[in-house]
Amino acid sequence: MDVSAAFSAAIDLIIGLDPGFLGIVRLSLGVTLSAVLIAAIIGLPLGALLALSRFPGRGGVIVFVNAMMGLPPVVAGLVIFLLLSRSGPIGFLGLLFSPSAMVLAQAVLVLPIIVAITRQLTENLHGEYREHLASVGLTGFRAIPTLLWDGRFALATAILAGFGRASAEVGAVLIVGGNIAGYTRTMTTAIALETSKGDLPLALGLGLVLILLTLVINAVTYGASRAGARFAG
C-alpha cells in the first residue's frame, strides 16, 4: 500500500468514525485526562506548599522536582511496572496491564511538571503579594488559595503542558499497559505497533488525531495566556 492510499484510508477511518479507531482515541484521552486531573489535584497544592515553606534541603527538593520534569517515560514506566508487578510492594492490587496502571504511570510523568511550574509561579507571585496579604491577615500557607487563583491562567498553561507530555508519550503506557487490543491500546502504542505491522492507515489516522490534539492544546494555551494578560497588566 502506498502512502497516498494509506492517507486516504486514514481519512476514511476518521470521517467514518470507525468504532475500533474511536475506542483507541477514547481510551487514550480517558487515561491522559485522568492522569492530568490526579496530577493537578496533588501537584497544585504541593507546588504552592513548596513555594511557601522553608526547610533544610528545600533546594535539593526543588532541583529533584525540576529534574523529574525530564524523566524519560520508559523509566517512569519501568518504576511503576516494578511497583505493580506481582512481587512489587503494591502488586496485590492487581493493576498491572490495566488502564489504571497507565493512569498511574502518566500521573507520575505529569506531576513534576505541575509541581515545578506551580512552585515557580507561586513563589514569584508571593514575592509580589506577600506584604499586602500579610497586612490583611493571610500569612503563611493561608496565602495559598489567593496565589493559586491569581496564577490561574499561568497554571492552566502548566496543566496543558502536562497534558501535552502525557498524550504524546508511548514508553510508560506501553510498559505498564501492555498494549492489549481494546483494553490498554492507546493512540501512541497503536501507532508504534501498527506501523511495524504495516497497517499504515490506522497509524496515520491516529497520528493525525494526535497532531490535531496538539494543535488544540496549543490553541487553548494561547487563549489562556491572552486571558491572563487581561488581568496581569
Binding site: 506584604e131 497586612s135 490583611v136 491569581d150 496564577g151 487581561r230 497588566g233
Partner: protein, 242 residues
C-alpha cells in the same frame, strides 16, 4: 475593668530593628494618639518604611515592642489598622474583587462583602472602574483603589508608606484629598514620606527620622518654622543628608 473602645494609643517602646548586623531602626519611642495625620519624615534610608512595618506587625522588632490600646490593634476580633504600600499591590482581579478579597481575608461575612466593596468604590469615585482589571488601572487609580480597599476594612489607624512617591502631581492631589477626607472622618493616619512639601501641606505632626533614630517629634507648624535639631534644619534647607 474599663471597656476598650479603641486600639489607640499606639506606642513604640524602644523599638529597634536590626538586619545583617546593622541597626536600621534604633530605640524609637513615640506614641500615636487618636486623630490627625502624623508624617514620618526623613531622607531615604532613615527607617521610615521599617518603622511602619514594625508598627503594622509585618516584621518583628529585634528589641522593644509595639503596644496598643487593645492587644495587637485588634478590637472584638477585628484588626483595626491597615496599610497602604508605596507600590500598590493589586491582585489579578477586578477592582471590586480586590476589595472583596481583602474583606474576605479579614473575615467579613459573605453577604456583607459586596455591599461594602461597592460602598468603598463609590466613596472614592471609583465606581466606574469597578469591573476593570485592577492591574490595568493607572498608577493614581491603583493607589486610590488601594486606599479604598484599606478603608473598606474600617481601620481606626491607617499606615501609608510613601503613597504618592510614584504619582504625578494631579494624582498626588487626589490622594491628599482622600487622606484629608479620611482624617475628617476620624481615621488616624500615619504616613511615611520624604516629600517635605507634602508633609507641610497635610501633616499635623512630624516625626523626623535620621539614620534609624527619632531626631525630632514636633507639631508640623513648629517643625517647619523652627526645627529644633540640626539634622532637621539641614533637611529642610535641602542640604544633602543621609
Amino acid at each position: 475593668m474599663r471597656e476598650t473602645t479603641s486600639i489607640l494609643p499606639l506606642s513604640a517602646e524602644d523599638l529597634s530593628f536590626e538586619a545583617g548586623g546593622k541597626l536600621l531602626v534604633s530605640q524609637l519611642r513615640f506614641a500615636i494618639q487618636r486623630g490627625g495625620l502624623t508624617a514620618l519624615l526623613g531622607p531615604n534610608g532613615s527607617g521610615k518604611s521599617l518603622t511602619l512595618r514594625l508598627c503594622h506587625g509585618l516584621i518583628r522588632p529585634s528589641a522593644g515592642r509595639v503596644a496598643w490600646g487593645a492587644e495587637k490593634g485588634v478590637l472584638a476580633g477585628v484588626k483595626r489598622h491597615a496599610m497602604v504600600f508605596q507600590k500598590p499591590v493589586m491582585l489579578r482581579r477586578s477592582a471590586r474583587a480586590n476589595i472583596v478579597h481583602a474583606l474576605a481575608a479579614a473575615g467579613v461575612a459573605r453577604a456583607e462583602r459586596q455591599e461594602r466593596a461597592v460602598a468603598a468604590l463609590a466613596r472614592f469615585g471609583l465606581d466606574a472602574l469597578s469591573e476593570n482589571p485592577a492591574r490595568l488601572l493607572s498608577g493614581g487609580e491603583q493607589q486610590r483603589l488601594a486606599i479604598a480597599r484599606a478603608w473598606s476594612l474600617r481601620p481606626e489607624l491607617l499606615f501609608l508608606d510613601e503613597p504618592c512617591s510614584q504619582l504625578d502631581p494631579g494624582a498626588t492631589r487626589q490622594i491628599e484629598e482622600m487622606l484629608a477626607a479620611l482624617k475628617a472622618e476620624g481615621v488616624t493616619l500615619v504616613m511615611a514620606t520624604h516629600d517635605m512639601a507634602q508633609a507641610r501641606r497635610i501633616a499635623d505632626r512630624v516625626l523626623f527620622l535620621h539614620r534609624g533614630r527619632l531626631v525630632e517629634d514636633s507639631p508640623a507648624a513648629s517643625f517647619f518654622t523652627a526645627p529644633a535639631s540640626a539634622e532637621a534644619r539641614a533637611f529642610i534647607a535641602g542640604e544633602l543628608l543621609w
